[in-house]
């Protein structure tokens, strides 16, 4: 499953980040295989996804989220 179509308020484990222009950027934010992410909220009309990873909270666009594969 991809992060772009997952449930709010659910904990997931990252399986892999699909190779793309910004995969390293995502990894710098701690989105690496094995990391636990909690989806907190999604902005309406396919807006950004708000998630917490470790002790930090970040928002990424739905398009970017579709490169993150969950277990």
């Amino acid at each position: 499953m991809k992060l772009s179509n997952c449930q709010n308020n659910t904990q997931y484990t990252v399986k892999e980040v699909i190779e793309c222009d910004f995969d390293c950027k995502l990894m710098e934010y701690g989105i690496i295989p094995g990391a636990n992410v909690l989806v907190l909220n999604k902005a309406p009309f396919n807006g950004p996804v708000y998630l917490s990873i470790g002790t930090q909270r970040i928002a990424i666009r739905k398009e970017e989220a579709s490169y993150i594969v969950l277990e």
Partner: protein, 679 residues
């Protein structure tokens, strides 16, 4: 006295500005037009027998820059040499979210910097049950570690003392960012080119492709994974979290403030409060400033002996100064709110809520903040676009920002709307003038959206847009920072806009009171043409003849054929020419033109109402002309400061010209159509 050069660096939203203010107090200076931490700020303080010079760099997230702001810091860190060479780095980390900070810290450390780690917000971390073993971190990284609370001022002296100490030896010098086989490739290359620092070499390989046979992508992801592993190991031993103490206000607030319904309603509410305060609250101090200047003008007039110097002061310089000072209340209120939003962490929630909408017109959620600023002034707005990573989204934001109604347009609108309709109320309390003003604001918003959409189709997207934003914890804003933000922005506005406005007022006065042969001998010309006038009529005729034949009058006359289809005569032409410097000069120019022109002591409004168009004989400021002028000022780029800042930020003559040309053309065409339809 020994000298030490220190730089403050860290991720955004870790309290860097607060610490900087705490360290340097008022001994600081900034370049032109500061955003919150956009420009390189520097300051000084003394500790023991050291004079310590501090540079505050913008917050950045990654050694791989994705915005101009970050590029600035990364280049600064990569090229640390010469007279500006820094001796120490103070790395500021957020005690409540240290993982990401330590990642960046380990990169800076690998660049060979001598670092003191300041763990900020230690008080909040403790309350949340986060216990940080500073001793362990110090040994592991080979740096001094100090716990501080920049807000409360705890640990600042310890930090100052730590700056003067030598760093402890690190546990190992080994690189932790590549697997053994790649490490060997890097090491061989470092030896081959004789580089001093292997991480710097690693960056030149991964950023500038210095070693083509290496897969940059692979190396970068290897770095990310290995570094996170390393940081995780350190965190596992160095940080303990007592879950029972974790009290998460931020999540609870986010549930409401980022809600798909409540979130937007609250955002609209926040905007309403800001605009309401800017317009109604500011009107009181603006009234006082007006009163002060008319008193000042009167007293200067009574003290100085009448003559050309006195009239230069009272009719040229003082109105010019007033034109600048009058905006200060609005700017102060606006930046007060911006500082509150930024300091509290709410600004990032706005970015989240608005990203989708802004994307529809080719911009980013991060464009919202600059666009709101341009309701005050386009100059800080264009500077603030530096945080937008994507070049296309940033360019579109710069292009459309000056279409939003900045406060310099307000005095122009106020006068024109006053001439357009009387101050009546509908439904008993809604002022018609206020409704028209609101319509002008909406017009700006709608036009900027349409313009953005057009640019979205014109500008090709060379760079893929991506968007990652950190959501900081909510914090109570520090009043000290709020005051600093207001002070710096107001100072920048008064100085930068002030220079142009005062200079324009002086030039106008000189051009309006000097002229060629006809100007000098105006008395003879008038007497020859109208021999039967009374003495009073004569002197009025002479002064209006003088203005018409002054250099200013000639300039107005020369553009008259071009502006006649818009419903303006040469006097309005003079105001248009002079307000190319800045829009608000329009009002000043009008009052200068008409006070040169008339002997009676009337308010500017009364003078304008009495004025007749020298071509048609009808009142100059009739309905069609007022509408046409309102539209002209809504769309045209009459602001030299904006042109200058667009050039500075885009570094492109092409885009600066495009902005000026499209806005001027839009203004001309729309005013032309409006006047022709209405007259």
């Amino acid at each position: 006295m020994k000298n030490l050069k220190v730089s403050l660096i860290g991720n955004p939203n870790v309290g860097k500005t607060t610490l900087f203010n705490r360290l340097c107090g008022v001994n600081q200076k900034t370049g032109n037009y500061p955003g919150v931490t956009v420009d390189k700020k520097s300051g000084k303080f003394k500790h023991l027998d050291y004079q310590i010079e501090v540079t505050d760099l913008p917050g950045f997230d990654s050694i791989y820059p994705k915005s101009l702001d970050e590029e600035l810091v990364v280049n600064f860190l990569k090229n640390n040499s010469g007279t500006d060479k820094i001796n120490k780095v103070v790395f500021i980390a957020d005690g409540t979210n240290i993982k990401k900070n330590l990642y960046l810290l380990s990169q800076i450390k690998d660049l060979g910097y001598d670092i003191v780690l300041a763990i900020n917000m230690i008080d909040i971390a403790k309350r949340k049950g986060i216990l940080i073993d500073t001793e362990y971190l110090s040994k592991e990284f080979g740096i001094h570690v100090v716990s501080i609370s920049a807000r409360k001022g705890d640990g600042i002296d310890e930090l100052k003392s730590a700056l003067l100490l030598d760093s402890p030896a690190p546990k190992s010098e080994e690189h932790r960012y590549l697997k053994p086989e790649n490490r060997k490739i890097l090491q061989d290359y470092v030896e081959k080119i004789g580089a001093k620092n292997s991480y710097q070499t690693f960056l030149s390989i991964t950023q500038d492709n210095a070693l083509p046979e290496v897969s940059v992508k692979k190396w970068k992801s290897e770095e990310a994974i290995l570094r996170y592993q390393y940081v995780r190991e350190i965190l596992a031993n160095g940080i303990k979290i007592d879950k029972s103490l974790a009290n998460d206000v931020t999540s609870k607030l986010d549930n409401v403030l980022m809600h798909k319904v409540w979130g937007y309603l609250i955002f609209v509410g926040v905007l309403l409060v800001i605009f309401q305060s800017v317009f109604s609250l500011a009107s009181y101090p603006m009234g006082w400033i007006e009163q002060f200047f008319s008193w000042f003008q009167g007293s200067v007039q009574s003290v100085l002996s009448p003559g050309s110097f006195t009239s230069f002061i009272t009719e040229g310089l003082i109105p010019g100064l007033e034109g600048v000072i009058i905006f200060v209340p609005q700017i102060v209120i606006l930046f007060f709110f911006f500082a509150l939003l930024d300091e509290s962490g709410y600004m990032n929630r706005i970015i989240f809520l608005m990203d989708r909408v802004m994307q529809k017109v080719g911009m980013s959620g991060k464009s919202v903040v600059p666009l709101i600023s341009s309701f005050a002034c386009a100059v800080p707005a264009i500077m603030a676009t530096r945080t937008i990573e994507n070049k296309r989204e940033r360019l579109i934001t710069i292009m459309v920002a000056p279409l939003l109604t900045c406060s310099a347009r307000l005095p122009v609108y106020t006068i024109l709307i006053g001439l357009l309709v009387p101050d009546t109320k509908v439904l008993g309390f809604v002022s018609v003038q206020a409704l028209i003003l609101l319509a002008m604001y909406l017009l700006g918003v709608i036009t900027s959206a349409i313009a953005a959409l057009v640019f979205k189709f014109i500008i090709k997207n060379k760079y893929r847009s991506f968007f990652i934003t950190e959501m900081p914890r909510y914090l109570l804003p520090s009043m000290k920072n709020v005051v600093f933000t207001i002070w710096e922005n107001t100072k920048a506005f008064v100085w930068n806009a002030g220079k142009i406005i005062v200079a324009a007022s002086i030039i106008l006065y000189v051009l309006g009171t000097n002229g060629g042969e006809r100007f000098k001998n105006s008395e003879e010309y008038v007497l020859a043409e109208y021999p039967s006038l009374t003495e009073d009529e004569q002197s009025t005729k002479i002064s209006s003849y003088e203005l018409e034949h002054s250099y200013l009058g000639m300039m107005g006359k020369s553009i008259e054929p071009a502006i006649e289809p818009l419903g303006y005569d040469w006097k309005v032409g003079i105001a248009l020419i002079s307000s190319i410097a800045a829009r608000e000069v329009f009002v000043g120019t009008m009052s200068i033109i008409y006070s040169i022109d008339s002997e009676e002591d009337l308010s500017i409004m009364q003078k304008l109402e009495k004025e007749t168009n020298s071509n048609t004989g009808k009142p100059t400021f009739n309905f069609a002309t007022c509408i046409s002028l309102l539209l002209f000022y809504a769309f045209s780029l009459q602001c030299m400061s904006t042109i200058a800042v667009t050039y500075k930020e885009t570094k492109s003559f092409k885009w600066t010209s495009i902005q000026f040309v499209y806005m001027t053309a839009l203004a001309y065409i729309v005013s032309f159509i409006a006047y022709q339809l209405l007259s």
